[in-house]
Amino acid sequence: MVHITVKLNVSLRKYRSSLKINEEMPILIPSDTTLAELLEHILQIPAEEVAIHMVNGIKSDMDRILVEGDKVAFWPPVAGG
């Protein structure tokens, strides 16, 4: 098992509504869990709602295996000026 944290942003916050803005949610996950598996099976958030996924501030592939201490963050489609 590994300890990671997860941030859910903007519209994705509805999936864990007790979280404060930008709060890191600690989660214990099985070793060798990928980002995709975290999203689908553990967090149970529809993949089509997520446009940007970062691990430790860097955009990562969904098949990346998460390790101890990883900080994960998800965003829906967003943009700015």
Partner: protein, 614 residues
């Protein structure tokens, strides 16, 4: 091409008003320009080059203010609200092209005009009233000194209840180089100090009322293309989903998480107070509802209010850039204060980005002991929300030290012997994406024709959202071509049509050309649109070259060329010099950044060195 007896899309008329002589004239719009430079940004830049010597002083009476709509402005297709204000920029000395939405641009078309050129200077404050064919220059009287909202109320009473108004606030009246031009109460053609030129001309406002509509060449085809575009926009998760529901400030936590959120005058790239000034925080506290521009389904404008406390107020915004410039850049995490400062900028009619950046520069100078409390009037430290708001007010009023702040951070930093504290390029301050992290933005800030502007080539779309395709921010390869064509050239095209750039997440040039062709009866096509964007970019570049800018000005501050001190991308820095030469080559320019003879011939600008004030 054959001469048409009627104008389609375009109104076919330029209105010229000389405030020195009082002369009011109408000229037919040369329709051969439509194919070359379209309208809006392209047309106004072309006209400016024929009107003035780019070397003149920006506040000279010979510098015209050109208000230009595009052929789609006012047509009723989605998001067709846009117009531009073009002149030689008071803040930078480059070409200025400030873009705004709302309802003013469409009303100018409904009154029968594509372009309005204001020349000369009035001896006394005036406003212009355009009511279809009837055009008057009227004394401004007690309007002078008023905020834009009150100005609009009073002018409507004196003219027409449905008049649309563009005006300057006290910032423009006092010739602040941070001043923009306000329309429809809260929208701004903000950057480059265009409001200072309007103030110098003693022109308080322009009120327009029109009873025509835009005539379409092929209405059936136009409306078919409109329905197609409407569907694409309203199905798009960014244009419709994100902008409508969350506004642009939804970016705050994202850019901060990446370690690309410039903080405390670009001294670092992460801000501990980001969450407090994020889009999520805005929605929970100050946001009231949305507002839309003319014909826009996106409705991205935030209408907001701070209901209690020392920063009570109401207005529109703040957007991402404003939340950043008045927030993280100044080290301020108090959302009520940032929102209030944003409202104040609208009231004074000054640009939030340059104002926030100038205050941040002053904060750095204060904290390093260069500026004293006595000189400023109070301590001006990073993170002091009340001091930041006070600084905005004194800047807008040009009171005390605000008289120096009102001319921007370039002049502030120079005046106090610390030019390295100016965070911009060509005297225009950078915006809310760190060039240490986004290599595309580094090149964009350094080469943008109006100075360090983000919006004229917002490569974050590719470097983060993956539109048109994902290119990691730290990667340099192929960035030069990406900056040049799908960003800089494409934006120049879009800015010339009258449609809003925020549609571009949902649609491409093809959908815009699918509107332009049936609207105008002119052969607008995807291939031509690429060439037109390139031509417009080069016209602006030529203006700047003639104004005295050189390769030496295509630079970034030293600070961002040094390693980022914090965040997940600590150590990264802007690698500009490595890709500037490649960028010039791809642009068809020589090693000094000047368009070659071959390039000029390709664009049909062979005689261009002879244009511009010869």
């Amino acid at each position: 091409m054959s001469k048409r007896s009627e104008s389609y899309g375009y109104m076919g008329v330029i209105l010229r008003i000389n405030l020195s002589s009082g002369a009011i004239t109408r000229e037919p719009l040369d329709m051969t320009l439509a194919e070359k430079v379209i309208g809006g940004r392209g047309l106004a830049s072309y006209l400016l080059c024929h009107e003035i010597d780019p070397a003149i002083a920006p506040l000279s009476p010979d510098n015209p203010l050109i208000f230009a709509t595009g052929p789609l402005t006012g047509s009723g297709a989605p998001a067709t609200s846009r117009y531009v204000v073009v002149c030689k920029a008071p803040l930078t000395g480059t070409i200025a092209c400030s873009n705004s939405g709302g309802f003013f641009g469409p009303e100018l078309k409904f009154a029968g005009y594509d372009v309005l050129i204001i020349e000369g200077e009035s001896p006394d404050p005036v406003y212009i009233w355009i009511d279809d064919d009837k055009v008057e220059i009227r004394p401004a009287g007690s309007l002078w000194g008023q905020f834009p909202v009150a100005t609009e109320v009073e002018i409507k009473q004196a003219t027409h209840p449905s008049a649309k108004v563009a005006s300057i606030g006290p910032g423009g009246e006092k010739l602040s180089l941070l001043a923009g031009i306000v329309n429809d109460n809260y929208r701004l053609a903000a950057r480059s100090g265009v409001g200072a030129l309007m103030g110098k001309k003693k022109l308080k406002a322009i009120a327009v009322h029109g009873s025509e509509s835009v005539t379409l060449h092929d209405p059936e085809q136009f409306w078919k293309a409109t329905m197609d575009m409407h569907k694409k926009i309203t199905n798009d998760p960014i244009s419709f989903g994100s902008f409508r529901a969350y506004g642009t400030a939804s970016l705050v936590n994202l850019i901060n998480e990446m370690g690309a959120f410039p903080t405390r005058n670009f001294q670092s790239d992460t801000f501990e107070g980001a969450a407090d000034t994020s889009g999520e925080a805005l929605i929970q506290s100050v946001l009231k509802r949305n507002r839309a521009c003319f014909a826009c389904p996106i409705s991205c404008t935030r209408v907001s209010e701070v209901t209690a406390g020392p920063f009570k107020g109401r207005g529109e915004g703040p957007e991402y850039e404003s939340v950043w410039a008045l927030g993280a850049l100044c080290g301020v995490s108090d959302l009520a204060a940032v929102t209030k400062a944003n409202f104040l900028c609208s009231e004074y009619g000054i640009d939030t980005i340059s104002t926030g950046a100038t205050i941040a520069c002053a904060m750095e100078l204060f904290e390093s002991g260069v500026l004293s409390e006595q000189e400023i009037g109070f301590p001006l430290k990073f993170g002091d929300a009340a001091a930041m708001v006070r600084a905005v007010i004194m800047t807008g009023d040009r009171e005390g030290f605000g008289d120096i702040l009102a001319d921007g951070s370039y002049r502030l930093a120079q005046r106090y012997g610390h030019p390295e504290c100016f965070m911009g390029s060509k005297r225009l301050e950078m915006s809310a994406y760190s060039p240490r992290v986004f290599q595309g933005m580094a090149l964009q800030y350094a080469t943008s024709n109006r100075g360090a502007c983000h919006v004229r080539g917002n490569t974050v779309a590719a470097e983060l959202y993956g539109i048109p395709r994902y290119m990691p921010p730290e990667v340099m390869e192929q960035k030069e071509e990406m900056v040049r064509r799908p960003f800089q050239n494409s934006t120049a095209f879009v800015d010339s049509t009258g449609i809003c750039l925020f549609t571009k997440f949902a649609i491409t040039h093809r959908e815009i050309c699918a509107l332009l062709a049936p609207a105008t009866g002119i052969d607008f096509s995807f291939d031509r649109s690429i060439e037109q964007g390139d031509r417009i970019w080069n016209i602006e570049r030529m203006f700047n070259l003639k104004a005295g800018f050189t390769r030496a000005d295509d630079i970034l501050p030293e600070r961002v060329c040094e390693p980022s001190p914090d965040g997940p991308r600590a150590g990264s820095r802007a690698l500009l010099q490595k890709n500037l030469d490649t960028y010039y080559q791809l642009r068809g320019w020589d090693e000094m950044g000047r368009p070659t003879a071959i390039k000029l011939k390709e664009l049909g600008l062979e005689d261009w060195w002879g244009v511009c004030g010869s």
